[in-house]
């Protein structure tokens, strides 16, 4: 046989060998086939393969939660004229009325003109009912009923939340964390956050804090009574342009986060500090003390304090220092508008810095209706070893049954090897596209071995039917018959699992995808090759 004929006759086997070869490279050669430098070295560290593992095999936390809020879409505010002119004052008026009626913070309502010219109003507060929101809209002269209001928020808001969460996770110094959106068939949307190497409580903290930072001035009012004091917000998180990592306070206890105020806000802040007396008589006059977490407001003398407030909770209070006061009163501060925000402990300082950097969540997440999955890295590692063990046991069992059925190594051995090759190709593929493997994928791999061997049994039985295969022609016709059944079976498996592959039903997506891929690889590559091997072994006698 000349080489060209040899290739022609064995191309199916050669294709299989080629695929297994590619997979081996993808699996074991560092960097794989497509070297991806974007991944830091630490993600490929000490594992002997290029496989990526998901949370359940690597450790970490995943949380899913809906966004808290109500939305009224396409409401008739009269703020958008027919030619597309937008009356911003009218929108602001509606917004203000809604807030007033529902007694909300400024951040808890939002009104927006969509691209198609319709107006959408949202409130972000779990305690507001649809009826109350409708009533508030009516109070603002907007013709809306309860039916116009749906739970949930707009796409825009969700996108903004995901962006903020992503930067919050990054700012917390964790690599590999992601935030994304998932939707159900009924159109409900969830925010999903996945962070490797983080416990549930830490992640819960990041997600449940909305992260609205404010600086409030706490100063004596005009009444003359020494203990009557006033609160006024002088800076919000949006006014902060740059944030440095937290550092320990040089004098005294506690931590500080050095920040730079934006150019737009700096002159106003400087003016306010001067007007309220912080740079004059109030210099250094703040005696409020904290217990490490909260601040006590029991005091006798007049106080001039700058309060650090996160999500309406006062986390620190301190006075205006002398050098800052001097540069503010001379007016030179606004050209270099930096100061330090205080925090009582390192954790608070860290989260303050994260909140300032990432900004606040546009709407809070509904943490009462969430779903959590969290696993310690050591436990996940255990699962990894167990999965391998279970996989090997399954392959061994299948081999045992197949061998005891055929007792012919010529039939059974290639069968087992082919099934294993199928898994090897799948693993290579998973490494190539860097699919993070979870427990559900492991189930998929085992299912692939199962269906794979089933189909090989069909081929073997069909081909060996009615005695030995005498000629090439007989083999081909029998093989084709067997393939009809295999194709039909493959089609049903793919159809049965395709809903899982596209729906987000927990962890099962991976299982479905791996099984479907396995069936495809089996039908297109490994099973034809097994036919060829069997033909060689049976006709060459």
């Amino acid at each position: 046989m000349n080489p060209i004929d040899a290739i022609k006759n064995n191309w199916r086997v050669l294709l299989l060998v080629l695929f297994v070869g590619f997979s081996t490279v993808a699996l074991f050669i560092p960097g794989g086939i497509v070297a991806d430098d974007s991944l830091a070295d630490d993600s490929i560290d000490d594992s002997p393969t290029n496989l990526e593992f998901g949370l359940s095999l690597e450790g970490g936390t995943r949380m899913r939660a809906p966004v808290d809020g109500l939305t009224a879409e396409d409401i008739d505010t009269g703020a958008v004229s027919d030619d597309g002119q937008i009356d911003q004052d009218r929108l602001d008026e509606v917004d203000a009325t809604i807030r007033e009626e529902l007694d909300l913070d400024p951040a808890d309502s939002n009104i927006n003109v969509q691209e198609d010219g319709t107006v959408t109003a949202e409130v972000f507060d779990g305690n507001v009912t649809e009826a109350e929101f409708a009533a508030a809209l009516q109070a603002a002269d907007v013709d809306a009923t309860e039916d116009d209001i749906r739970p949930g928020v707009t796409q825009e808001t969700r996108d903004s939340i995901i962006e903020t969460l992503q930067s919050k996770i990054n700012a917390a110094g964790l690599s590999g964390g992601t935030a994304y959106e998932s939707s159900t068939l009924e159109g409900d949307h969830y925010i999903v956050v996945e962070v490797p190497n983080m416990g549930a409580s830490e992640l819960r903290e990041i997600l449940s804090d909305r992260g609205q930072v404010e600086v409030r001035a706490y100063y004596p009012d005009d009444s003359g009574n020494q203990t009557n004091q006033t609160n006024q917000t002088v800076l919000t998180g949006e006014d902060i342009a740059n944030v440095d990592p937290p550092e320990q306070r040089q004098r005294g206890s506690g931590y500080v986060v050095p920040v730079q105020v934006s150019e737009d806000a700096a002159p106003g802040f400087q003016q306010q500090m001067n007007d309220l007396g912080f740079t004059g008589e109030g210099q250094g006059r703040c005696n409020l003390r904290g217990d490490g977490e909260t601040i006590s407001f029991d005091h006798e003398n007049e106080q001039y304090c700058l309060l650090t407030v996160v999500d309406d909770e006062v986390v620190d209070a301190h006075s205006m220092g002398q050098s800052l006061a001097t540069s503010m009163s001379s007016g030179s501060w606004e050209s270099n508008p930096t100061f330090q925000m205080g925090a009582q402990n390192q954790q608070d300082a860290q989260s303050l810095s994260v909140n300032l950097r990432a900004g606040s969540l546009r709407a809070p997440l509904d943490m009462d209706n969430n779903q959590v999955y969290s696993i310690q890295p050591s436990h996940a590692d255990q699962f990894k070893q167990y999965s391998l063990l279970i996989g090997l046991l399954s392959v061994l069992t299948v081999s045992g049954v197949v061998y005891s059925r055929y007792t012919d190594t010529r039939v059974a051995l290639p069968m087992i090897l082919t099934a294993v090759a199928e898994v090897a190709i799948l693993l290579g593929f998973a490494a190539l596209i860097r699919m993070p493997l979870d427990l559900s994928h492991v189930a998929g791999f085992i299912a692939v071995v199962g269906t794979g061997v089933d189909d090989l049994v069909i081929i073997a039985d069909e081909v060996m039917d009615e005695g030995d295969v005498s000629s090439e022609r007989v083999f081909q016709s029998r093989f084709r018959k067997a393939f009809w059944v295999i194709g039909a079976a493959a089609a049903t498996t793919i159809i049965a699992l395709s809903p899982l592959a596209v729906m987000s039903l927990g962890d099962l997506q991976g299982f479905a995808i791996i099984t479907i891929l396995g069936v495809l690889i089996g039908v297109l590559i490994t099973r034809p090759a097994y036919g060829d091997i069997l033909r060689r072994l049976l006709t060459d006698r």
């Binding site: 279970i390 189930a443 059944v485 699992l497 899982l500």
Partner: protein
């Protein structure tokens, strides 16, 4: 000769009615169990955490198993030991995972350097309902899709409906088994059920194909189809049994439930394919075609 050989059954001794009676009776009992359970408990099968909501903690502690419930404010629904040293899976109906985690850390003795709470998962009730609906839709779509393929492949009513009927029975009987054995419906069991639709149809297609599309004696074709089909099913059953038992012992719920459901389902499939489907095909071949 093989250690394991598929026995040849003398089908001529039994009438179609007799053959179909057994699987249909089992199916009827299964339906009865499910509907009874629906009337009594409100759900045909017990719902697991994934669908009913609740929390599950895997803890590693030297506290004896019997004293573990005392650490929590809420009485756990169950405490199960796993193969790991001093590892237990504790389940709750509460969904306040944070509180449970704190109580575990405070109330349980730590085992050396290991973290007490090794793994937490919790699902709120609303999330569970969401998943329930999604799973129902998924199962329905899968089943309808499978039926459509069966009809496309054989294009005749009786053989196609035989496949659909036996696949239906393959789903219902394991569900009734779950109720009787107290296995809750979880994401893993749903995956097992979906996989079952794919797996169980294989042997039906094989049988139909051999009988309808090949020349030759009915019983000869049946025997050949059985030899292949039973080998396939038994191989898969063996793999699933080993996977199910090993995963159960090692405390990997997802794999354990997929394995057990598939094992039971495949056993049911043997019954349905070679008694129900076969009797329908025999009727169709010998009487149905003529009429």
């Amino acid at each position: 000769m093989a250690y394991f050989d598929v026995p040849e059954i003398d089908y001529t001794r039994y009438s179609n009615r007799q053959l179909a009676a057994v699987p249909l009776a089992v199916l009827a009992v299964a339906l009865l169990v499910l509907s009874g359970s629906f009337l009594v408990y409100g759900t045909p099968v017990p719902l697991g955490m994934d669908f009913a909501g609740g929390s599950e903690l895997t803890v590693q502690t030297t506290t004896p198993e019997g004293d573990i419930p005392a650490a929590f404010d809420e009485q756990p629904e169950s405490v199960t030991g796993t193969s790991g040293d001093n590892q237990y899976i504790v389940r709750f109906s509460s969904t306040d995972a944070q509180a449970l985690e704190d109580q575990a850390t405070d109330g349980l003795e730590s085992d050396g350097d290991a973290q007490i709470v090794q793994s937490v998962s919790s699902t709120s009730a609303s999330f569970g309902q969401q998943s329930q609906r999604t799973a129902m839709i998924g199962l329905a779509v899968a089943f309808v899709g499978m039926s459509a393929i069966a009809f496309l492949l054989f294009r005749t009513f009786v053989p196609s409906i035989a496949i659909v009927l036996s696949a239906f029975s393959d789903l219902v009987i394991p569900l009734a088994f779950m109720r009787l054995a107290g296995i809750p419906l979880s994401l893993g069991t749903v995956a097992g059920l979906l996989m079952l639709i794919g797996y169980s149809v294989d042997s039906d297609i094989l049988l139909n194909n051999h009988i309808l599309r090949r020349s030759g004696d009915f019983y000869e074709s049946t025997h050949r189809a059985m030899r292949t089909g039973v080998t396939m099913t038994v191989t898969s059953m063996a793999a699933m049994f080993v996977m199910g038992v090993a995963a159960y012992l090692l405390g990997i719920d997802l794999l354990a439930s997929i394995g057990i459901i598939l094992f039971v389902g495949l056993a049911t499939d043997l019954l349905n394919t070679y008694m129900l489907n076969l009797s329908l095909l025999r009727w169709y071949k010998f009487e149905g075609i003529r009429s």
